[in-house]
């Protein structure tokens, strides 16, 4: 690339180079491998220490839960589903952005995804790991959680395949497994890079095994690219189905506020919305700490903010439509539930949800704001919080005041609800810190393909046109 090629200020967004700073194939390898190869920065140990401490909080909370039972949580009658389900839905939702970036944007040939897909897929895996904890522990008797799987047992008992809760077991565990396989497939060429750059015997051995002897031959790429395409193709309906299935946990019940057909698309939009907010939060931190401003440019962040604006507006539409349907249905229980949701005892949570999820993303209509890193960082934090409250509102406000006023109660969490949730961040960040320390956090093989010279018909500026047979 000549230096004049870098003067991009006058170009429309679609023609700007995706990477800045005169990148070559070698500079991409050096930048991304360098993060892992240089000496571990002290801040990493500090961060890992903090994350491990939180992880201990998670283990401690789960230990106490297993010993004592779900009575340690703030659950009451009628609120039998509390933070555990809220956290489950929240974490699964966050995972969805990673799959959207790795699969759906791949099928749509959005080449800017290459800078963030590895990172976002890792986030998916770790978020889904956190999510899987909650349904597993909320059963109380954790040691019989295998009853949810169709395993022949001495009781002669089989799971109820008509139950959305069972669909969830299959949908979420398939989602985790398929995401892991997709992630590993993407990692193979980059693991081979690490193998070839490894200096120590242990690294040579470990990356040698993990990269399965990859030689980068086109006879391998041929199968590899098709495998990648197929994985993207099957992950796309999978990611749309997972949160739809999660939403049927609610929608299939007869509870006002849950029993609604808008839930599957509304949950999927919300999931992608919250997931992108989390990707923005994490990439802003990572690109700053590791100096990746040329790989993950403001252009990349702006594109994510546009998706946040779109999905945030879809979520806002769903909030409005729920109210309309409640009124239009003529069902007094439904109408009461929604008026009560906004103005009843949990009204404060409702307005946190609306202002963080619907109003905050509207900032991104303005180019100045959606390209400002501090603004988007703060906005993404608000959205993360707002989306947690969305699940809180759905779960708790519908349960706390159901059909009979005699049943009504107010739900508040105990210290153990909070500790388990906070502890799940420990698991998330522990896994994330290990990932960015030991694995390539940007897909080198894929990022290289967005350079103009990766095209076999590329003609270097200043040379005469290539020949074609």
């Amino acid at each position: 690339m000549s230096s004049t090629a870098q003067d991009v200020s006058g170009l429309p967004d679609s023609e700007k180079p995706l990477l800045t700073g005169n990148q070559t194939f070698a500079s991409i390898t050096a930048t991304i491998s360098g993060i892992v190869e240089r000496k571990t920065p002290p801040i990493w140990y500090l961060a890992l220490g903090a994350a491990l401490s939180l992880l201990m909080v998670l283990f401690g909370s789960i230990g106490w839960l297993v010993y004592e039972g779900t009575g340690i949580w703030g659950l009451n009658n009628p609120v039998g589903w509390g933070w555990a389900i809220i956290n489950f839905v929240w974490w699964v939702g966050i995972g969805h952005a990673g799959t959207l970036i790795s699969a759906i944007l791949f099928l749509l040939r959005q080449r800017w995804r290459t800078s963030i897909n590895r990172f976002a897929e890792a986030m998916t895996l770790f978020a889904v790991s956190c999510a899987l904890i909650f349904p597993a522990i909320h059963v109380g008797r954790v040691w019989v959680v295998y009853w949810t799987f169709p395993v022949p047992n001495q009781m002669g008992m089989w799971p109820n395949f008509r139950s959305p809760l069972l669909w969830d077991v299959f949908a979420v565990s398939t989602y985790f497994t398929a995401s892991l396989l997709f992630w590993y497939t993407g990692l193979i060429p980059d693991l081979a890079t690490f193998r070839d750059r490894a200096k120590t015997k242990i690294k040579k051995f470990v990356f040698g095994i993990l990269s399965v002897g990859w030689r980068g031959g086109n006879r391998q790429w041929k199968h590899y690219e098709l495998a990648y395409l197929i994985l993207a193709g099957i992950s796309t309906p999978l990611v749309l189905s997972v949160h739809s299935v999660v939403s049927t946990d609610f929608a299939v019940s007869i509870l006002p506020g849950w029993h609604t057909t808008i839930f599957p698309p509304y949950f999927v939009a919300g999931a992608i919305f919250s997931g992108f907010a989390m990707v923005v939060t994490l990439t802003i931190i990572a690109r700053k700490i590791f100096g990746l401003e040329n790989m993950i440019t403001v252009n990349h962040l702006e594109k994510m903010n546009k998706i946040i604006l779109l999905t945030g507006s879809m979520v806002g539409y769903a909030y409005g439509m729920e109210f309309f349907i409640a009124w239009y249905s003529g069902n007094i229980y439904e109408q009461f539930t929604f008026i009560n949701r906004a103005f009843g005892q949990y009204g404060w949570a409702y307005w946190i949800m609306v202002s963080y999820n619907v109003l905050v993303p509207q900032l991104f209509w303005f180019k100045k704001l959606r390209t400002s890193v501090p603004v988007m960082f703060v906005a993404s934090l608000f959205i993360n919080v707002g989306m947690w409250f969305e699940r809180f509102v759905i779960v708790v406000s519908s349960l706390a005041q159901d059909f009979l006023p005699a049943n009504w109660d107010y739900y508040s969490p105990t210290i153990w609800d909070v500790a388990t949730f906070v502890g799940s961040f420990g698991l998330f960040f522990t896994l994330f810190l290990l990932f960015i320390r030991f694995l390539p956090m940007i897909s080198m093989a894929e990022v290289k393909t967005v350079l103009p010279e990766a095209d076999p018909h590329y003609v270097a500026p200043g040379t005469k046109g290539g020949h074609h047979e």
Binding site: F25, A26, T29, M157, W158, P159, N160, F161, R162, L166, W167, F170, A171, T174, T177, A178, L181, F182, Y184, T185, P189, T193, R195, D196, R197, G208, I209, V212, G213, W214, R215, G216, G217, N218, R219, Q220, W221, K222, H223, Y224, E225, L226, A227, I230, L231, I234, S235, L238, S241, V245, T248, M444, A445, K448, E453, D455, P456, H457, Y458, V459
Partner: protein
């Protein structure tokens, strides 16, 4: 001396750019070589045509896995809910197939995902931790910014001297005979 007695297993040549590798692939293909490969740090668009390769059959493998996954999931749910453990739930029929579709879909995807990764590895002959190209020290660049053509000794047209000269004539540099040292 013949190549076999000298333990020669192939020839490796470096090319400067994806574009050079692409044109080299066309020439190696047209010269009639069969056991050759073009190594690059990332997949190069159109290379299959340049090398004269057929489309990967992986789609059929994954399609079969999807069929096995969906049919066994549906079969399991049918058998468990109607024969092994028939219980009336909400007055629904034992085989209420609509409710079985989410799990049917999920298991179809699960098996397809495994088939895609494992099938890809098997078709590629991986894991294979040793290959003659690894005799070359410069080959480590292939995962960074190196572009290589390798011709294996198994190719009927292979002759270490002629193949070497041929690769040089089409613009290959650092041409190296892959030989057990």
């Amino acid at each position: 001396m013949s190549d076999a007695t000298q333990n020669i297993e192939g020839v490796l040549a470096e090319f400067k750019s994806p574009s050079d590798l692409y044109h080299a692939a066309e020439k190696v293909r047209d010269a009639g070589y069969k056991n050759f490969d073009c190594h690059s740090p990332f997949p190069i668009h159109g290379m299959d045509g340049a090398m004269g390769l057929k489309r990967s059959p992986l789609g059929w493998i994954v399609g079969l896995a999807a069929l096995v996954g969906t049919s066994s999931a549906l079969g399991l749910q049918w058998w468990a809910s109607t024969i092994e453990y028939p219980i009336i739930i909400s007055g629904k029929p034992f085989f209420s197939f609509q409710a079985y579709l989410p799990i049917t879909f999920a298991l179809g995807v699960l098996l397809s995902a495994f088939a895609a990764l494992i099938g890809m590895l098997v078709l590629n002959g991986l894991p294979r931790f040793f290959h003659p190209v690894f005799y070359s020290d410069m080959f480590a660049k292939v995962t960074d910014d190196g572009f290589f053509v390798s011709v294996e000794a198994a190719d009927p047209k292979f002759d270490s001297n002629q193949t070497r000269a041929f690769l040089e004539s089409i613009g290959g540099t650092n041409v190296e005979v892959l030989q057990k040292s």
